[in-house]
Subunit: 595 residues, 2 copies
């Protein structure tokens, strides 16, 4: 596995020129987010990712997490790595100074998180889950709960987990059976949860589990789910740790990838009931989960981007050094990077990585705006955009992340299949991202039902209208490359618009066709909106080149990369459109027993 | 991992109605291939695949092949499995009775091979490689070599390997450095070969290595490569085994998948030189390799199909039994198979599996015709078709095989990522198929340069003309489903024709654009030609339904599956066309150091 090089130049470009970091930093509470501070934060995070986390990635995969004598043993180096993040207060980056945080925008946190995930996804899940628990308590907990749990969670001294899934309740959370019985000021929780990421470990002194459970007389289905805080170690009123709670890790899963991330089966209440504290009100657990969903799903989308970036770097390094044959148009033997097909793969990887980064960061900025903008209408508008982009970023970036990781293997030829090379670890690790935190189909359901059909496609059409306007501008541009990008974007936006229109039209007639078209539609919208961001990037690059600002090589590279995306990736939109409008009719053509 | 169910019904349909088994059986030498015999051969092979090979697949993956004290230890059950194949003379199926074979068509061998590969790809590589060695010696060896080696190889009592790759010579075979020095009636071989599938093991008493090497005064590059037979155990003139040859397995690779298939680093001549026997003439080794290539690449294409079939069966079984949520349009909870997106995934898997099977078997039939047809013109015509289809079957079936295996994981949700489930083994196993026996880019090179540009696109256009004629017939059909299939095929064929025209036009101007477009063009042609086979299948199904012949449920299913392929898969052709004609310009837009 090659070293990880933090792509700071592109990250800073996307932050400033596409995601509007300046406007985000102008939001109330983000006064500290000066360009200088953000720059040094990213640089230092990059250093840690490169020097501390990345070197542990492959050894961690080989060693894996193990359950030994009831304790989860993480891979060598994990302890020092988490201590590094705690020492630097990295987990606290996006949280209020009141709780010990740094008070920086979520947008900056996403950029930092991208680097952790690129460097070592199996490790980075630990702080990611802790931040998820912070978000839950921060947004839905009582003042007492915040005071008790946030200071240690925000600083990373305690870890957090999300306990949703049960063996009979995955995508269908309404089927949850874990019980919560009220006893005085707390509840006694009993039941088994599966697929709990970092469900147990010894890296920190306490783990705060957020657990979905059902009270005895709760209504059936999703309307009867409540959310509980269940600490591994009970916490005394003075903040000191008390007795061990009735929570245990029963086993760890053997997975295709992220071997070093312990995926636990957790048992609550084997000795009578685990002490749990209700978050908010009974039966509103699913609602609270949805509050956090935008963050959690954005983070997993960023994992897709991150693993793609790492796979790209690995493939590029190999393609530069590996000599094999004389490439067409070359006078002598050189790196396989000179072969057109290798170049096509690398360009496909690079251009999609940059498109994913742009769209994910733009979505993160919209989330910050939705939380902090002083104007209610602007907040509402940003919320609409953030919620629309959320399932697209999660679904599209993880699907493309898998494809890019697979291309990374392919660039290596036979060496890609050998574990020592490291390319196939990225593919094995990436494969979980389209599954957890809601499969791509779950994202597509959210997109179709809550984000498109609920307003009859208005938000979707508004987003596409922005892309269409940009495309029209570019087509009229004197620069041939920009004009070509504009034409390609225009065709793709038209296809996306037709797909949205089709969806809005078909849904009342045939809900199954609408549902069946969700995943290709999500893919289509991701492809087109990613293309719009690349087109924006190209326009900026052209302006800077003309104004002789900055590094011309960077702008020229961005222009060419955007052109490749437009010519090579955007045409997929036409194929997807056909599959959506025609193919959806045929989805249910067979009975289950004919399959 | 679920059981493997041999898809005999579809295999027999494809053999008879699409690949023309009757015409193949009418070729000289295939007199024994009566419908009854072929039927019972397939049934018995299916039984062995299901009962003997498939149950070993997952345990073999866990155990893997190990090098212990210089000997390769294969997984438990491997010995009994190979003995079963030897006892049934299964390896001899397509070879002349003169050498102990059964004298059946290669077409039937491909169908049998599909079942071995579906059941246990890591195991099935062993007989596949042995058959590869038989093909080499049978087609290029001297009468003495045939007499000495074929009887034991054909029956499987000895195994065979292909030793091509070296650490500096993968896709670029011209860089081979292994030496062969003539000494009396033989050569002394020295050098190291890597990635040698089943390079060493104790399953049979001898292993016959076919080794590419270079004589001292050979011309540089591919024109100086010779092919040698290098037995692990020397063979005396009376056929008994002599001394151990100077060949050793140095190490085994740790791979992403096919763990139970030993991938060896082989060292020749550490003790002075391994005895090798020249095949044919010096410096014609590459040519001999190409003679076998059509078989070998077809076989790997069949692996792509086979692993897709297995992944599909696994996903279908899970989707039927797993209950999760109430699907749209359903009154109560049922299997996830009722969810439209799950159905979309299963239909995508099933329809592509059937398209791949049809195209691979048609290609196998063309190979039989090319070898055996009594009329020279018909032989030449069949050879053209077989050679045109060859890289497409290899490249397209393996790329789609990976995607289908990945969809299989996705259908399982979180369980798909857990190794015990078995779904992700298929993906790990599949991942090698786009790499070995020539990467997809190597197939695309072959397609573009040897199969399309050499005759200015004439063969490609002739194949597409057949598809266009079929599409026109179907469009005019009174059956609405057939008409829809015809329309979709027509649009896709037009796109494929435009891509071929573009290629023929651009190649003289810009060889790099032509080369860079190869992989998407291969994909486009595979998609369209697979669609043509599905359209043929639909037409047959409609005729049989109208004539009330056979099982109406099978025909109805085939019709709907072909319809899905036409509506959902064929539109990809439009996206691919855009990427080819536009995207190829942008491939080389960046310098290597800008990537």
């Amino acid at each position: 596995m090659t070293a990880y090089l933090p792509p700071l130049r592109d990250m800073e470009f996307v932050l400033r020129d596409l995601a509007g970091l300046d406007q985000v930093a102008a939001l109330p509470g983000f006064e500290d987010a000066t360009p200088e501070l953000v720059g040094s934060v990213l640089e230092e995070a990059g250093r840690i990712a490169e020097e501390v986390l990345a070197p542990l990635n492959q050894p961690g995969d080989r060693q894996g997490a193990k359950l030994v004598d009831g304790k989860v043993r993480t891979a060598d180096g994990w302890q020092a790595a988490i201590d590094t993040l705690i020492d630097g207060n990295w987990l606290g980056l996006p949280y209020a100074e009141q709780w010990g945080g740094m008070g920086l925008p979520g947008l900056v946190n996403v950029a930092v998180s991208e680097m952790w995930q690129s460097a070592n996804m199996a490790f980075a899940l630990c702080p990611m889950l802790t931040q998820g628990a912070v978000n839950a308590i921060d947004e839905c907990g009582s003042p007492e709960q915040k005071a008790k749990f946030l200071p240690k969670l925000v600083t990373g001294q305690w870890a957090g987990t999300m306990n949703l899934t049960e063996s009979g309740a995955g995508s269908d959370l309404g089927a949850i059976r874990t019980k919560a019985v009220k006893t005085g000021d707390h509840y006694l929780i009993s039941g088994q949860k599966i697929f709990i990421t970092y469900g147990d470990h010894e890296l920190v002194e306490n783990i705060i589990h957020l657990v979905l459970a059902r009270t005895p007389d709760a209504p059936p289905g999703v309307k009867g789910i409540s959310l509980f805080i269940v600490p591994k170690m009970l916490v005394n009123d003075d903040g000191s740790l008390g007795a061990r709670n009735d929570v245990a890790c029963v086993s760890l899963e053997h997975k295709m990838g992220i071997h070093a991330s312990p995926t636990a089966v957790m048992s609550f209440g084997d000795k009578g009931g685990a002490v749990g504290y209700l978050v908010g009100e009974e039966n509103r657990g699913l609602e609270y989960m949805f509050v956090m969903m935008n963050h959690a799903r954005l983070n997993v989308g960023v994992q897709g981007l991150a693993i793609a970036e790492r796979a790209y770097q690995q493939a590029r390094a190999y393609a530069r050094e590996r000599v094999q044959g004389k490439a067409i148009g070359c006078a002598e033997k050189g790196g396989i990077i000179d072969h057109p097909d290798v170049r096509r793969m690398l360009m496909t990887m690079k251009s999609q990585v940059e498109a994913m980064r742009a769209l994910a960061y733009v979505a993160a900025a919209a989330l910050d705006q939705a939380h902090r903008h002083p104007d209610a209408a602007a907040r509402a508008q940003a919320k609409l955009e953030a919620e629309f982009l959320n399932p697209i970023v999660k679904g599209w970036c993880t699907e493309v992340g898998n494809e890019v990781a697979s291309l990374g293997v392919q660039v290596h030829g036979g060496m890609g299949y050998i574990e020592e090379t490291g390319a196939c670890q990225h593919l094995r690790d990436a494969r979980i991202t389209t599954i957890y935190e809601g499969t791509t189909a779950i994202q597509a359901n959210d997109l179709v039902n809550r984000k498109i059909l609920r307003d009859q496609g208005a938000t979707a059409r508004a987003e596409l209208a922005k892309a269409a306007a940009l495309a029209a501008d570019l087509r009229a541009h004197g620069d041939a490359t920009l004009a070509a990008i504009g034409s390609a974007l225009s065709a793709a936006v038209t296809a996306a618009g037709q797909a949205v229109d089709w969806l809005v039209g078909i849904a009342p007639e045939d809900a199954r066709q609408a549902a069946g078209a969700g995943v290709p539609l999500l893919r289509l919208l991701g492809t087109v909106l990613g293309g719009m961001q690349m087109a924006r990037a190209a326009a900026v690059a052209r302006r800077r080149l003309d104004a002789k600002e900055g590094d011309p090589a960077f702008w020229q590279t961005k222009l060419s990369t955007a052109w490749f995306y437009a010519e090579s990736v955007l045409p997929q939109a036409l194929g997807l459109l056909g599959g959506i409008t025609g193919g959806s009719r045929a989805i249910m053509a067979l009975d289950p027993d004919q399959l």
